[in-house]
Amino acid sequence: MTQFLSLLLNGLSLGALYALIALGFVIIFKASEVVSFTHGSLLLLGAYSIARLSDSIGFLPAVLVGILITAAAAFVIERLIINRLRGAAVISLAIVTIGVDIILLTELIRRLGSDILNVPHPWGGESFRVGSVGLSQNRLIAFLVAAVLIALFFVAFKYSSWGIAMRASAEDGETAALMGIRQGRVSALAWVVAGVLAAVAALFLVGSPTPGVTPTAYAVALRAFPAAILGGLDSTGGALAGGLLIGIAEAMAAGYQDQLLFLGRGFSAVVPFIVMIAVLMFRPSGLFGTKELTRV
């Protein structure tokens, strides 16, 4: 039971981070109609900037600057590439983002070389315990920060002008344009928000219990894709549910790996994708996604 609770907590905290990444993925899809595969390298960029800058300017300033750099990179990608290709087929745009991702990733890997950079989290690698249920402090703080950010995001999405402009353009772009909503701005802002969320997730994903900034952090971001897809690509609530579900499933598979040995070691790494496939088999548009309906 203790192990179960412990895994559940770990899963929730990991899932909250996946949810942050998946939310960015979903709002980019809603605002720009792009399935953005740039998220993996944006995440790595965030982690890399924070780790590199921490030595010279200190931890907190490095976090802020790292978030800014990631958001700026997302903004530049949107302005320079996505915005100019508006109206291109969704599939071409997706492949363009894969290209951008590979370019950015290659450069980051080259810079990383073979070092393992560490983000000097002031909270260190200690664990937080209640009775015998444990969670690394890093994950606990991650969970709290993610919860606050997600709550803020949903409030803004529901009540702010940006949220309304965003939902209106996602539903009917031409009519939103007729109302004077500038879609270019809505889309650019979505990318910036997605960049910020990815960088915050990166800050925690490279801390305990995961070891430092390595190219494997990229693979972590990949697991947020199934989270977004299984929640329903156009649903922000779905991104949250999908993220938590994937996080818990992954943590459980890792924790009970001795019982799951017949599936082979490292099974937990593929669990997110198996969960996604299982969900899509029964609900092809995801848990909360809009079914493709055409009203005549």
Partner: protein
């Protein structure tokens, strides 16, 4: 106020949708544009409202001026900021947004907060049903209510000129009559209106001036009342037996009410 001169528009460089149209919307008037499907009515509106590019259309020649500003090449957001707002064909309300959020979306181009608050009061005054349903999702409204919401949403931007693309489309005759009254009221409150319609009875009843488009060209134009009396308009748009034939045909026996309109 709006003046269109020798306008030519093509789609994809090949299909000529509008050929040499010239048109005037004087300040404070209601101008109707009649014509059948494919006459170029919607293309004309797209050119004015700045959405032509979204449909791969292009202005080949001619000018569209609004209070002296050339509109060709400007996008929809700029047109809205100049005071030109279009109610799209088929209402196109945001079904997943609430009524109130739809209205807020309509006010996005309106930076002036007091103007926006005034616009909202005016909309709720004109359509009390929207206030009652302000927290309902747009998709749950009836067709007539959705049209009211679409018009209300456009009014949130405090337009100087309101463009309406077939507001009567798919609505019951009783409600079409009410839409006519709403247009007249909006005009009385000082907004000029360009009304594109297939329903000539309603359009000519509310308009001061009218143009008839035929395969991309203006075939008739003039005072709306006089135009309604011409043989061509009677034959093509109003039916043989005079002005309100269309309405008489749909009137229900013994004056029974089909539905109630509460706006």
């Amino acid at each position: 106020m709006l003046s269109i001169d020798a306008l030519h528009v093509t789609y994809g460089g090949a299909v000529q949708a509008v050929r040499g149209v010239s048109m005037e919307v004087p300040d404070g008037k209601v101008v109707a544009v009649l014509g059948s499907n494919g006459a170029g009515k919607t293309t004309l509106l797209r050119t004015i409202s700045g959405t032509l590019r979204l449909h791969r259309g292009k202005v080949d020649a001619g000018t569209v001026r609004f209070d002296g500003t050339d509109l060709v090449g400007r996008d929809a957001a700029q047109a809205v900021r100049l005071g030109l707002v279009q109610v799209p064909e088929g209402r196109r309300i945001f079904g997943r947004l609430t009524v109130e959020e739809n209205l807020r979306a309509g006010g996005m181009g309106n930076k002036d907060k007091t103007a926006k608050a005034k616009a909202q009061d005016r909309v709720y005054d004109m359509f009390p049903v929207l206030k009652e349903r302000s927290s309902q999702r747009g998709a749950l409204l009836s067709g007539g209510e959705q049209q009211m919401l679409a018009i209300g949403r456009a009014l949130m931007a405090s337009p100087k000129l309101l463009l309406l693309d077939e507001p009567s489309l798919g609505l019951a005759p009783r409600i079409i009559g009410q839409i006519g009254e709403v247009i007249a009221e909006i005009n009385r409150q000082g907004t000029s209106v360009l009304l594109v319609e297939q329903n000539a009875t309603m359009a000519l009843g509310v308009a001061d001036l009218a143009y008839v488009l035929d395969v991309g060209e203006v075939s008739l134009s003039g005072d709306a009342r006089e135009l309604a009396r011409t043989d061509e308009v009677q034959r093509l748009y109003l039916g043989h037996d005079g002005g309100d034939a269309g309405e008489q045909r749909v009137r229900v026996a013994s004056g029974k009410k089909l539905s109630r309109w509460t706006a």
